[in-house]
Amino acid sequence: MSLLIVLDVIAILIVMYLYRVVRGPTVFDRLLGLNGISTKAIILLVVIGTVYERVEMFVDISTGYALLNLVGVLAITKYLTQRWRA
């Protein structure tokens, strides 16, 4: 039961970040919002794994998500620096 409360709290936090991602006036607001969502996502996936009692599988998913998210954010920042310099 307490795990479900944790799930709901993290989901509410994600909705707050999502408001910034969808609304956010500049690109950097959206970038920061997406970064916040991805940090919550790593925890949320592990909590879902604990609910299903298959943590080892979901730890793999969250690790893969964290690594690829780093690559994605690096690509976005690289692209933005290129565009602003030109």
Binding site: I14, S38, L44, L45, Y52, D60, L68, Y79, L80
Partner: protein, 176 residues
């Protein structure tokens, strides 16, 4: 327990998909699509399809973002859309009716995780019991993919290979 978390996830999916379509700056659309594929991965994880969730998190959130940015760096960063004509009346009427028909048909499907469903009564036990004797492969998924359905997998590979060749032919630069 399944329903308490599923519906808000689906609502967030629709919200992010709509936001990605509406927003004018294409880089922002790419970022919102990242959030979209994260929610899709959560839906898969919540339904217990951990491998699909893994692929969605890796490909959707990571690789697709990089590919979109590679495309954006070669083209314009702004959405210059052509004003489309409104859809024909018959499509506006027929497509919701088709959706209703599909929803009506989905009522007859067995419930999610039902142990009495035909797939879990007839199909799965056969593969679990016979696949080791049939194919001498300890992994059941591998034996289904690479032995029972090997023709399907072969033609899938042909499709991927053909589309790769077509992309290479279309995108190559002339040396002259």
């Amino acid at each position: 327990m399944t329903y308490s978390f599923e519906l808000p996830l689906l609502a967030l999916l629709i919200l992010t998909a709509g936001g990605a379509i509406i927003v004018k700056e294409l880089i922002s659309a790419v970022l919102i699509l990242g959030a979209y594929s994260f929610f899709l991965a959560l839906v898969w994880a919540w339904l217990g399809a951990a491998d699909v969730a893994f692929v969605e998190a890796v490909v959707g959130a990571g690789l697709a973002t990089v590919f979109f940015l590679l495309t954006l760096s070669q083209t314009s960063p702004e959405d210059t859309r052509i004003r489309r004509p409104p859809p024909p009346i018959i499509a506006v009427i027929a497509l919701p009716l088709l959706g209703l028909l599909l929803l009506y048909a989905a009522n007859d499907l067995p419930a999610f995780g039902d142990p009495g469903a035909p797939a879990s009564v007839h199909v799965s036990p056969h593969y679990i019991e016979n696949s080791l004797a049939d194919t001498r492969t300890p992994n059941v998924v591998t034996s289904v993919l690479m032995d029972y359905r090997v023709l399907d997998t072969l033609i899938e590979t042909v499709v991927v290979f053909t589309s790769g060749i077509a992309c290479w032919l279309l995108l190559r630069r002339d040396t002259e």
